[in-house]
Subunit: 219 residues, 2 copies
Amino acid sequence: MAIKVITVKEDVFGANEEKAKQNQQRLDGSGVTAVNIMSSPGAGKTSLILGTIKGLQGRARISVVEGDVASSVDAEKVNQQGTPVVQINTDGGCHLDANMMASALDNLPLAETDLLFIENVGNLICPAEFALGEHKRVVIASLPEGDDKPYKYPLMFTEADVVLLNKADLLPYLDFNVEEFEKAVRGLNPGVSIMQVSCKTGEGMDAWLSWLLGQVKQK
Amino acid sequence: MAIKVITVKEDVFGANEEKAKQNQQRLDGSGVTAVNIMSSPGAGKTSLILGTIKGLQGRARISVVEGDVASSVDAEKVNQQGTPVVQINTDGGCHLDANMMASALDNLPLAETDLLFIENVGNLICPAEFALGEHKRVVIASLPEGDDKPYKYPLMFTEADVVLLNKADLLPYLDFNVEEFEKAVRGLNPGVSIMQVSCKTGEGMDAWLSWLLGQVKQK
């Protein structure tokens, strides 16, 4: 019985990986760079996407996939900016998967997109296990969450290309040790880029936008 | 095939519910009140438990179950206060379940415990689906997460007995609408108690401690 369960789990991950590869080939065929944005609930994924759309206006064409357990409040905010967006509701599910992503791609103008942001479900655990076909993984850690999160959610930080440390404007009011946090992240993932930002004040956003522009493909 | 998957899922939940009932009977037999504490990563579960142990010193005997994906940093903090504690590492799993809870109960001094705190894995989604045998469910929402969380993680807020709104000391620095938050929570769960606290400054802790003392059973 135990072996059977493991087999099922492997099949689920295997089938997801296969579908994710297909998604990535499709994105490559349209010259789209896809960025999977993951974090705890309320760390600032939507605020980051809204700030990035504004910051890259006229420099890159953006589309967005919004993943949520329920509601479409985030997609509505993105849509107000005139950006193409698809909302996926997982109906209780704790992460996006490659099949959901494939359905979203059917409904987005890929030929007119340079950067596709995927806002994953707010969860520091399960989304790290499911590839969607993205080219880059970004984890947002929020200063009020505390500096010990890399020790407690290691897979998420191990698999990130960029860690954004958001809500930097709150640093004076918190007991957060930036050096300890960076040490913990680099212990898991020596090559990762760590950038301190505040989506509220705009602090640090230039470095993030420059990194993103470096990921855009020639069409 | 689809029907088979649904059956497996129902079996998993059914078996968990059965085990949770057994855990609760065992707790009742020892006169222990168990409180399942759930939240996003970094909302303040461990700080709440540490502050509560201090606040109830000499008034109630406390034991703790610490649930984490990895590490034992939280259990070490609790242990330093001389409180009996068991750490459960889920090794990637996104929630505690009733079997893990049963193993923890085997290793705690139930006869000398009035209140058992269960610190669930930091996750606003999956822990709400798995009963552990607890008598009460407490959700900690943290002010920096924003006031829209009840819309996005409805099950967690629907099933809570108490919602603690933590990090109240940061209110002056945030765009957080307390009325909107309370309205959203009560829309899902009209009878819930909502208490504003700061584990850092101690603000609001008296109401929380009084509520807890009201849950202690006569032995």
